[in-house]
Structure formats: C-alpha cells, structure tokens
C-alpha cells in the first residue's frame, strides 16, 4: 500500500471536516473493498478517516413505519437482525448471498452501497480503464467481458455494480440519508447509483464530502412473496452473473404490485417500473411473467462473451416471479 496519514473521527461533523481538510482523503469503515483496491494501486488515497467509532450502528424503527439501518451496522448484523429477517426477508437473503461470513462481519451497510465494480480491467492497472483512469479507454468492450453489463452501458464503460444487498434495496425502494458540509439530504435508491455515460469514474451521486448516515426501508417489505435469485459460477462466494430481486403483493392469484430489480447486468441495480406495472391487476401466470421479462431486457446488448446473459436474465426473471408467487425455496 502507498503511504497515507490516518485519523479517527468521533462524530459525523468531525469526519466531514477531516475529509475536506485533507487532500485525496477517503472515509474508511469496513475496509474490505477499499484496502483491497489500495493494495493493488487502484485506489490511492493520501489520508484515511476512520469512521468506525461514530454512533451509526443501530437498526431502529423509522417515521414511515419501516426500519432505519445505521450506515455502520455490519452486513451480517443486518441480515440476521430479527426485524429484517421477519419484515424484509428479501434483503436478508440478498445480503447472505454475497461475500463470506468473515467479510459480512466486517463490511458495513453504507460501504456496501459504495463498493466498486469487480470488472477485471478495473483491477488490472496494466490495462486502460475509463473508470480507473478517465480517458484511457475501455478494455472490456472488446475484451473478455463475460461478467460485464448488458443494460445501460456506454461506449466508455460496461462495468457492473457488484452488490447483492443493493439489488434488494432497489426493489424495496429504500432511501439513502446522507450528510455533507452543506447539510443533510435524502437520495432515493434509484438515484443513488449512476449509469456510466461519459463519466464512468463517478459511481454514485454521493459527493466527496458527504457521508451516508443511514438507509431507510419503507414500511412495505413484501415478506409474503419474494425471491432473491443469484445465478453464478459456484454456489457460494462468487459474484452474480445475473441476480433477481422479485417481490409481489398478491390478492389471491392476482398481482396487486410487483417489484423487480436485476443485479450483475448493469452499472447499477436495474429497475424498470413501467415493466413492473404490466403485472398490476394481472393473473400471476408464466405467460404474464414472460412478457415482463421481455420488457425488462428490451434494449439489452451483449458484447460477445456476455451475450448469454440476456436470455439468462429473462429466464431468471420468470423463475424468480414464479418462486415469489408460490414461495418455494429460493436458490
């Protein structure tokens, strides 16, 4: 690792003043992604502000009847929290589908949102990458791109967002509470992560001086009909080729409301509310699910090695919705 200076923040405001008063400064919490990237020179901060002593470590009821996840609660404590398991099993399952026991104990909820892509070229400092080095080019578009994006890509970047947790948070329409030197604001989950466009080096709409303080889950948790389906090359500790967070609110066999988010296919968890709306008031049949799957993948584009993801995603959507409807065990 390249040398850096280090300080510990006691509260949010001192963390923000610490990070703004140092050049090339970053917050560090779980550290599982940042330190990994610092060891291979992909990220090279000159100062780290340790925020792990700040009191953002509780899960509490919020004003809208949902739960507020403190930004520094670990992924493990969130997934195994009694209220999360009971009211938001989709979120619990999604978190447990990612990483390992050790990493989930370390990684925080705020940090999960801020993890960087696992695109091989982003990690390989010998190759051009617009996300790592703006303007250097994208090695993935014509390279080995089996794991990479098929939706919302640009000519500058086809990276995917690696999180499982975020796919569930997108489907649940969570809100991200942040604080910066200009005060507090709330970012709807769909607006938190960005598409690559011509600025793929900017992953999220969080500003440099802003810190995530908590994540709000709305009251509606879809605990009756949900699935998190993660398709990957091995059964545990692998990133998704395609994942689907599916949630249904049913009235008998008729869909009252449907939520779908896809992981492993885009620079952010992929939502298409107008395609979800196609299910509203419709019977929960395979035929209806297939129509939604087609609509969800409209405009998808493969780059050679990842062409298979388009069909895989459609089938995963259909199977996830069937499982959510019947509430069979997820896989």
């Amino acid at each position: 690792m390249r040398p850096f200076t280090f300080s510990k923040a006691r509260d949010v405001s001192s963390a923000i003043s610490d990070v703004t008063s140092h050049e090339k400064a970053k917050f560090i919490a779980g550290g599982t992604n940042l330190l990994d990237l610092m060891k291979i020179d992909v990220m090279t901060p000159r100062h780290l502000v340790d925020i792990t002593n700040i009191a953002l470590k509780t899960i509490e009821e919020n004003e809208e009847g949902g739960l507020r996840l403190g930004a520094l609660v670990s992924n493990a404590d969130t997934a195994y929290h009694e209220q999360v398991e009971k009211r938001y099993p989709l979120l619990s399952h999604a978190i447990l589908a990612g990483a390992t026991g050790q990493l989930r104990n370390m990684a925080t909820d705020g940090g999960n949102l801020l993890q960087r892509t696992r695109c091989y070229y982003f990690y390989d400092t010998d190759t051009p990458c617009n996300k790592r080095e703006p303007g250097s080019g994208c090695s993935a578009i014509k390279g080995y791109n089996r794991d990479l994006a098929i939706l919302g890509t640009s000519e500058y970047c086809i990276a995917t967002h690696p999180s499982d947790m975020c796919v569930a948070l997108a489907a649940l329409e969570a809100k991200v509470n942040v604080t910066g030197k200009d005060g507090d604001r709330v970012i709807p989950f769909a607006k938190f992560h960005r598409l690559p466009g011509d600025t793929p080096h900017i992953d999220t709409n969080l500003k440099e001086d802003e810190i995530i303080t908590s994540i709000d889950l709305p009251a509606k948790g879809f605990a009756e009909h949900y699935t998190y389906m993660k398709l990957r090359d091995r059964a545990s500790y692998a990133f998704a080729l395609v994942s689907v967070a599916a949630a249904l609110e049913m009235d008998g066999d008729t869909v009252k409301e449907a939520r779908l988010a896809l992981g492993g296919v885009a620079h952010k968890p992929w939502r298409k509310p107008e395609a979800e709306a196609m299910l509203q008031g419709k019977p929960a049949t395979r035929g209806q699910f297939q129509k939604v799957a087609e609509a969800y993948l409209e405009g998808a584009r493969g780059y050679g090695y990842n062409d298979f993801k388009i069909e895989l995603a459609k089938r995963a959507i259909v199977r996830s919705l069937e499982q959510a409807f019947k509430m069979e065990a997820s896989s």
Partner: protein
C-alpha cells in the same frame, strides 16, 4: 517500505489487546492487522495467503467474530479483544475445535488450518448453520487447496453439536 524515509507519514502508537495481553506498538498507518500480528508481534500462526480477503488463511476473532485480518488496519482494532490461533489453547489443552481438526484428519499441509479453526469458532458463535449446506456456504470464505473440506465439515458438525449440548 515502513522504514528509513523521512518523507513518510510518521508512525502512530497503537494499543492492541491480543489473546488477553495488552500490546503497545509504533506502526505505520498502513499496517494491516495481519502484518501487525506476524511482523511486529511474531504471532505467525495467523497466515498470509492471498492478502485480499479471498482465502481466509488470515482469519482471526475480534470480539468473538471472525474477520479477515488482512483487510483491516491495526489502527482500527484498538479497544477490541483480538484472538488468534495462539490464544485458543487453555492450560496446555487444545481448544476443542483444534483437537477436532486432529481427530477428523481435517488438514494436510496445514497452511489454511489456523484460519479454518478461527472461522469454525466464529461460525459456531454466530449460531446460524443448521444444515450441511449451511456449513458449506458459511465456510466458503476459507479455501483449502489440499481439499480437506469433507473432514472440515465433520469438524464443524461436531463443534455445532457440542455447542448445543453445552
């Protein structure tokens, strides 16, 4: 890299509590907990495999929870109770999980074993593994390239049974 250059940021004082003993060290801020254990405290039972959180050889217990010591800074682990494989045996007797690795022949070269042992203890503390598939999934952060997995699963089963009857 940590020595000799006047341009480097200064070392900082770190107080760590490891296997029940207080240790005060002067460390460069970029020292991982793993490097602090191995290079500064001579606790070389904890192994460096990948140094990227992928293999689990560096697994230690912090306040009873298993973590990858390669992916955290020593400076961030002050005021916590750190347990390494060296701290498990009590009064000359191996920890039951250590003994179970021997009884079940659950290792060959032994390089991953300290991390596996700490991970099993952490897994039992978590109390979430109910089935064989759960065990395999929850141990996926520990790679064994000799392929002793079948017997490692037996160790975990035994450890879980013991924790239930305790």
């Amino acid at each position: 890299m940590e020595n000799n250059s006047p341009a480097l940021p200064p070392k900082q004082t770190v107080k760590l509590r490891i296997n029940g003993a207080e240790k005060q060290l002067e460390l460069a801020p970029w020292t991982s907990l793993l490097d602090a254990l191995r290079e500064h405290l001579n606790l070389t039972g904890t192994k460096k495999g990948c140094d990227h959180g992928q293999c689990g050889a560096c697994t230690v217990l912090v306040d009873g929870r298993r973590i990858n010591s390669c992916l955290t800074l020593a400076m961030m682990q002050e005021d916590k109770e750190i347990t390494t494989v060296e701290g498990l045996a009590k009064d000359g007797e191996l920890h039951p999980v250590q003994q179970a690795f021997i009884n079940h022949d659950a290792f060959q070269c032994g390089y991953c074993t300290p991390g596996q042992i700490c991970s099993v203890i952490g897994l039992v503390n978590e109390g979430k593994a109910k089935t064989l598939d759960d065990i395999r999934d929850l141990m996926s952060g520990n790679i064994c390239r000799c392929g002793a997995y079948v017997n490692i699963v037996k160790v975990v089963q035994e450890a879980l049974e013991r924790s239930e009857t305790r």
